[in-house]
Structures are given as C-alpha cells and as structure tokens.
C-alpha cells in the first residue's frame, strides 16, 4: 500500500491477518484510542478562566460634560407577538413600541416621572373648563414634522379623530379605549385646539393626552400612506427621525437636527446629542446579555435577574434601576367561585404566602416584596392599605375559625369539601411552585398547571380556576383609575376582561365611579384611599412583588430616563462618552 493521505489499509479481513502479527502492546494501544479521544474532549470542555474586568478607561468625565456623537444600540426582549407591531402611535404597538414612539413623536402634555405633575409638551399651556368637558390647548409655534410640514391644531384634530375612528379597528382599540370620553376637536386657529368630551373624565390629561398613543402624527404623511403602511414609515415631530425598520431585527432612528425645543423636564433643549439609535430585538436573555458583554450593543432592557448582581459589580457596566408604576405584581384570586369566594380563605392565602421567599427564590432578591395593591410611585398610594402579612400560624387560625379543619392527609375540609385549589400560569410557573409549598404547609392543596398564553387568557375568563399567576410585574399605569379597570364589577368577564379577580363590591364600585368623575385632585385622592382600604380589607388578591424594570448599560452611556410608568424610556437626554461608543 502506498503511504499518504489517501492510503487505505485494506479490507477488514486482510488487516485482521496483519494485526495478528502485531505485539500485544500495539493491540491494546489501539483499544485505548477511543478512551484517549474521549478524555481529550472532556479536557477541552473544561471552562476557560473568565475574562478579567478591564480597568476603567481613565477617569470618567463629569456628568456635565455631555458630548455629541455616537450610536445608542438598545436591545429589547421581544414581546410575545415577536416584534414591535407598529410605529403608528394610534395603532396598538406592543410594549416596546412605546419606548420608540416618544422618540419619533411629541405629545401635547408630558407627565413628570418625578412628581406626576403635568408639564408642557407641544402645548405651551392649556385650560380646562370648570365642568371638565372642554380642554383648550395653546400650541408651540414653528414646530415642523419630519417631512417639513408645519405642526398646527389641524394635525392635533387629525390625530385625535383617527384614534377613535372605527375604520381602524381593531388596531386602534386600545387608544380608542383611552379616548372613550372624547367627542370631537374644534380648531380655533392654527395654534389653538379645543378638545370636547362627552362627559368629564378626571384623568383625561394624564391617561389620554399625555400618553404616547396620542403622539401627534403628520396628517400629510398619514393620509398619503394610510394604515398600516404609515406604521412602517412613521413621520412625527420628535427629537429623532425614522430611518429604517428591518422586521424582527432592528429599527433605526437618527437625530432630528430641526428639533428646536424639548419639554422642560429634560435637560437637553434642542436636538439630541447622539447621532443614531438602533433598537434591536434579541428574545433570548443569555444572548441579549452576551451582546452587551461583547460590545455589540451598549444598552439592554430586560436584565435577567440571575445576572443582575454580577453586572452591577462589573466596572464595565451599570444597572439603571427603575421602579414601575400602576398595580403591583399579584396572584389573582377568583372571588366568584368557592372556596376563594370566602373572605377567610383569601385572607388565609395572603397569610400563608411568604413574599420575601418568592422574591429570593425566583428573582434572586432583585425586586421588592409587597403587601399593597398599588405601586408606591402612584400619587394616590395609600401606605396604610396593606393586605395581611406572612404569618403561617395566623393563617392556620383564620382557617380554623372559619370552620376549615385539617383532614386525614393534612388538607383542610369543611362540610365534606376539601380545600383544594387550582392555579395556573402562562408566563412563568416558578412563583406558583414556591406558593404551592407554602400553601401546603397550612393545609391548602394547590394544583398548578402551566399553559400557553392563548389557553391561559381564555381560561381566566371562565370560572374554572382559583389562583391565576399573571405577568409577574402586574399592570402598568400612571393613574389610580387603574383600580376601576381592575376591580369594578362592570369589567368582570364576559362583559370585559380586565377584572380577572371577578370582584363585585357595590361600595367599591361607587368609590371608583366617583373617582373617575371628581375633578378635584384632593377629593380624588381621598376616594382612592378609601377604595384601597376596601380592597385590602376584603383581601381580593395576593400582592406579591413590586418589580424593577431595569436597564443595563455600558459605562459611559448616560441619560436614559424612565417615564411615569417606569416601563418606557425617554431618550431625549442620551449622550455617550467616546469610550463607550
């Protein structure tokens, strides 16, 4: 046989004969071959030493030295629907669309996240009529859309009308819900618009006008492109202009050099400092993190809890902690079906659950355990309206007093009925597993099931469940009217789907209705304080976690700010040090 690459040792029967002449050592070496190969592979698999932290690149510039230039690359997890649905503000974009739309569009009013006050946006000032049915807005002069056309009161009328236009259903369902009290807009002159409502709505300004869903669009562009094409080629008046959208991959916007102003809550008055922003979608948390660590992106949303401590202590990165607003993350209880229809059972469930343990075990202690239904950031937050604290002994007493006695297997019974509950989750089953063990300890049996999102959302509208583990961060909102959405009896399925707890308390209903219509902020606060007291007393649900919605950035990326809700970002003030570009 010729030697070389193409050498072939001959068929097996011939080689066996040849091998007979080989020494015993040679034969056993051949058998060792696979073993050696396996060992070599195992050694190769041993993890390499992790890279050392780079030393800080010189002293960091003082915060005042904002510098122009650079690109912000912000990576989002994809929402369930897989992509931002639309960049048309009057069409329901998915969650992260609401970080991108404030960069492209301006609203008439903006809510200051620090104190919930209403501040001028495109409207320099505004007046409300005493009966709360008319709002007159006086607009800034000389604002232009990205297509060069001027922003006038006619554009405001166009925007508000299309948000409720039935011809754009179902895409504009959500903005239409926000504008449920809207009747029409009168254009008094080029820079004055009067919005007329059908009935007074106390939170009309913060919950409709100031929302990014009512960002003002260019009527010329929207008419020319129509829905849904306008959502793919947005034209607004904001600090950034649209460049491109590669579906499922990224959206690019660039600074608008003609942006000559900015709402007073921002530091920067005039065009932004960064050249471009690229919004990328990276659904897998470990990949998103890898992109940040390898320098591919310089900011990420959706920081995995398991890695937060490591990132925070790494000198190359910074974790911006933003607390959200609205209602806290909670376990919904079905108030309309036995046995969770019994107040004692609901109280006992609250007492049996160790929220701190859930926070530690599921979320690495990153968030804040809570006993309130509303987030602390809410201006009408009642610090005394707390649901029962973790106290397993008290839970057992509560159940004993209500007639639930432990059965032969430790699970409580009353009148021949076992205290056996069904709970389900579609987003994350882990809190359910922790809670299952805690409830078992006081004699409540909880069966849990994980299902797909569609099946879960369907199940909760029926009666066939007791505990529902919704998205763990709860609802986001800027106004206590969220309590109406969550707990007013008119929102119980099948009438609507937001009152999942199926709460029906006439006294509560009245307070929430009055809160919606009372225009005086002090009176509203009092009404909502009393409403929270009822919710706490009746233990309608189990508040669990108040979540941070954090952003992790490369050190040197400055100015990312959260809005009043805590979940969307304002990018007007962003600037990047040269070392982080």
């Amino acid at each position: 046989m010729k030697a070389g690459l193409w050498r072939w040792e001959g068929p097996a029967w011939r080689r066996a004969g040849a091998a007979a002449g080989v020494s015993a050592t040679g034969r056993s070496w051949r058998r060792l071959g696979p073993l050696v190969a396996a060992l070599a592979l195992l050694v190769a698999c041993a993890p390499a030493a992790p890279p050392k932290d780079e030393p800080a690149a010189g002293a960091p510039s003082p915060a005042g030295d904002a510098q122009a230039g650079g690109t912000l690359t912000l990576a989002f997890p994809s929402p369930d629907a897989g992509d931002v649905r639309s960049l048309d503000p009057q069409v329901d974009g998915a969650t992260y669309a609401n970080t991108i739309t404030p960069a492209l569009y301006d609203s008439l009013i903006i809510q200051d996240p620090r104190d919930s006050s209403l501040q001028p946006g495109l409207a320099e000032r505004w007046e409300a009529s005493p009966d709360g049915k008319e709002y007159t807005f006086y607009l800034r002069h000389n604002v232009k859309f990205h297509d060069g056309t001027p922003l006038t009161a006619a554009a405001v009328k166009y925007t508000f009308d299309r948000s409720v236009d039935p011809k754009y259903r179902p895409q504009n369902s959500y903005p239409a819900t926000l504008m449920v009290a809207y009747d029409h807009t009168d254009v008094l002159d080029d820079y004055t618009a009067r919005v007329v409502l059908k009935e007074p709505q106390a939170n009309f300004l913060p919950s409709a006008i100031a929302r990014s869903y009512l960002g003002i669009v260019s009527p010329t562009a929207a008419e020319r492109l129509g829905v849904p094409a306008f959502g793919e080629h947005p034209v607004g008046s904001g600090p950034y202009r649209f460049v491109e959208w590669v579906h499922g991959d990224h959206i690019t916007v660039e600074r608008n050099p003609d942006y000559a102003w900015s709402p007073p809550i921002f530091d920067r008055q005039g065009p932004p400092l960064v050249d471009r922003i690229v919004f990328r979608f990276i659904p897998e948390p470990s990949t998103r993190l890898a992109a940040l660590e390898s320098g591919e992106v310089n900011a990420i949303e959706g920081v995995p809890e398991a890695d937060e401590a490591r990132l925070a202590s790494d000198s190359r990165f910074e974790v911006l902690k933003f607390r959200k607003n609205g209602t806290t993350g909670r376990i919904d209880l079905n108030n309309a079906v036995f046995p969770t229809s019994e107040r004692a059972v609901r109280i006992a469930i609250n007492q049996a659950i160790d929220k701190d343990a859930v926070n530690r075990n599921v979320y690495y202690g990153v968030h804040v355990p809570t006993r309130s239904i509303l987030e602390e950031k809410m201006w009408a937050f009642n610090p005394d309206a707390l649901l029962p604290a973790y106290d397993p002994a008290a839970a057992k007493r509560t159940l004993d007093e209500a007639g639930w006695r432990p059965g032969p297997d430790g699970i409580r019974e009353k009148d021949g009925q076992r205290l056996e509950l069904f709970g389900f989750a579609w987003y994350d089953i882990r809190p359910a597993e922790v809670v299952q063990a805690q409830l078992q300890a006081v004699g409540i049996k909880l069966n849990v099931e994980k299902m797909s999102r569609a099946a879960g959302l369907d199940r909760v509208n029926g009666m066939d469940w007791h505990l529902y583990f919704h998205q763990p961060w709860g609802w986001t909102n800027e106004d206590p009217h969220i309590l109406y959405t969550n707990f007013h009896s008119s929102n119980v399925p099948p009438l609507a789907d937001s009152n999942r707890d199926k709460v029906n308390i006439p006294e509560l209903d009245k307070l929430l209705e009055q809160g919606y219509q009372t225009l005086d902020p002090a009176k509203r606060k009092d009404l909502y304080f009393r409403a929270q007291e009822i919710v706490a007393r009746e233990a309608v649900a189990v508040p669990l976690i108040s979540m941070y919605r954090d952003v992790a950035v490369r050190k040197g990326v400055h100015g990312i700010k959260a809005d009043i809700r805590g979940t969307y970002r304002y990018l007007h003030d962003v600037w990047i040090e040269p070392s982080a570009r």
Partner: protein, 309 residues
C-alpha cells in the same frame, strides 16, 4: 424517467392538499379563542360588541368548510390573508423572513456536507485506527448534544471570551457563521456516520480493486470511483436535512435573534394568529415537498437502478 417524475409530482400535489386540510382542522381543535387573545393582549377592557365586530371582520363566523374553501382559493392567487395581530399581509411577512431561512439553511447544509463527508471519508480510510474512533466519537457528540446548549456555549466562547464573532443578528455574513455551524452540527454528525459506513462498504467492492489494478492513483480511486457511489444514500440524507433546515429551526433562530420561518411559525402558534399560522404551514409544507421531490428525482438520476424499480 419521465413517468417516474410525473408519478412523484402527482404524489406531491396530493400531499400538499392533505396538509392544508390537516392544518386547518388542527387549529380549530385547539383551546383558546383568537379574538379574545387579540383583545386581551392590549390590556384594555373590551365590550362584547367589539369582539363580535372583530370576529365578523376576519370571517371567523362563517362555517368551517366555507372558511377552508376561501382559504385555498385565495392561497392559489398568492393571498394568504392578513395577520390578526399586526394587520400585515401574511405573504409579505413570510417573504420578508424566507431569505434569512434560505441563507441559514444553505450555509448550514454546506458546512454539514463539508464537515460530515470529509470526516466520514477520513474515518473510512483510517478504519480501525485512532482517527476512526475519534471521528466516530465526534459524530456521536454532534448528534447527541442539544443545539440550544451548543449554541449558548458557542456564544460564550466565540462572542464573549474570544470576541471573534457576533452573538445575535442577521445583517452580514459574520452573523451567519455561528448559527449555521450550530444548525449544521447534528447533520454533519449523521452524514459522517453514513458516509463512513457507505464508504467502507464500497471500498470492499470488486470494482474498486479493479480500478486499483488498472494502475489508477489512489486519490482517483477513492474520489471518483468509491466516493461517488458511496454518496448515493448520503444524498437522501442531505435532502432530508435540507428540508428540515428550510422548515425553520426555531431554537437557533431564537437564540441568535434571527428572523426566520421557524420563529414566525412558533410565534403564530403561541398567539393563535390563524392566518399567519396557516400561511406559514402551507409554505413550509410546500418547501418540504419540493425538496423531497428534487431529492427523489436526483436519486433516480444518480442511480439508474432506481428508475426501473
């Protein structure tokens, strides 16, 4: 040959119709209501009348057979409906992501073929030596390891530690290397094993001995005479792998943040986005059927014995 091709073509068309019927029936047997999903995902209170409006608009009130016939009729003209969630035409959504799936599939196939066939040939030529055992071990590893684990490991090593390759995205050829390699790894393993055993079988044949006896160089014997014949069963395997790649690899697409047909499919299932799901299943099935048709025909062309079977 022509008769053979026509037979295969007819079978393909029948399979395709069967797929549409099955996909349609399956959707309606699943729990959950698409309209409610659409409304709920907006976190707003919605009235019953609005829900009915949406149902009407998307033709969900028609009887099932009517819905099916409408679907097939429209699909034949290229209209796969509009997404319930986004309002965009389904055909556009698929056309947007299909090139990325094609890119990934062909890159993975090339890598799998190069790696697999060379490994298999090497193992066969060095039968019963350490090289043979090592390559068997490597192909076993490639076939057994879960791709999400390999993917995350690859990102850790090549993106973070070494910084050679980007972790996520689609805009450029560098972004293709890691995903294509991970996707191709398993195929490479099975191709290697099949090539090896096929080569071993062929190398023992008499015509190989004859070729050698004629005085041909070893390389010519191995490549032109032995390998070509040994690759016949491998062609079928490659065809199946290509079909599988084109059907979209959800895991690789998700981890490397790439758009693709697989990700579109999974998202539409989770969101119960009827039209997107139906359109995507149809396109994937059509692709699979086409690829298998090509494989069958090329198999017959490569091996004349098949044509007359």
């Amino acid at each position: 040959m022509l008769y053979y091709v026509l037979k295969r073509l007819l079978g393909a068309v029948l399979v395709l119709f069967g797929v549409t019927v099955l996909a349609f029936a399956m959707l309606h047997l699943m729990p959950g209501d698409p309209v409610r999903v659409l409304m709920s995902s907006m976190e707003a209170a919605n009235s019953q009348t609005e829900i009915e409006q949406v149902r009407e608009r998307f033709g969900l009130n028609d009887p099932l057979p009517v819905q099916y016939v409408n679907f097939v009729r429209r699909a034949a003209t290229g209209d796969l409906g509009r997404s319930v969630l986004k309002g965009r035409p389904v055909a556009t959504m698929i056309a947007e992501v299909y090139p990325y799936t094609l890119q990934l599939a062909f890159a993975a196939l090339v890598i799998a073929m190069l790696a697999g066939i060379s490994l298999g040939v090497l193992a066969a030529l060095r039968h019963n030596t350490w090289a043979d055992s090592a390559s068997i071990l490597v192909s076993l590893f490639a076939v057994s390891m879960p791709d999400f684990w390999l993917a995350i490991l690859a990102i850790l090593v090549f993106s973070i530690y070494l910084g050679w390759l980007p972790a996520a995205g689609t805009q450029g050829w560098q972004y293709l290397i890691l995903p294509a390699s991970i996707l191709g790894v398993r195929a490479a393993g099975s191709i290697a094993r099949l090539t090896r055993s096929s080569m071993l079988e062929v190398l023992g044949r008499q015509y190989v001995t004859t070729a050698r006896a004629k005085g041909l160089r070893e390389r010519v014997v191995v490549l032109r005479h032995a390998l070509k014949n040994a690759l016949i069963p491998v062609v079928t395997l490659i065809g199946l792998d290509l079909g599988r790649f084109l059907a979209g690899s959800v895991i690789v697409e998700t981890i490397f943040a790439r758009q693709g047909v697989g990700k579109l499919l999974i998202d539409s299932i989770l969101d119960k986005d009827f039209p997107v799901l139906q359109g995507t299943v149809l396109v994937i099935a059509a692709t699979y059927v086409l690829v298998n048709l090509v494989v069958d025909v090329s198999y017959a062309w490569l091996d004349p014995r098949i044509r007359y079977a």
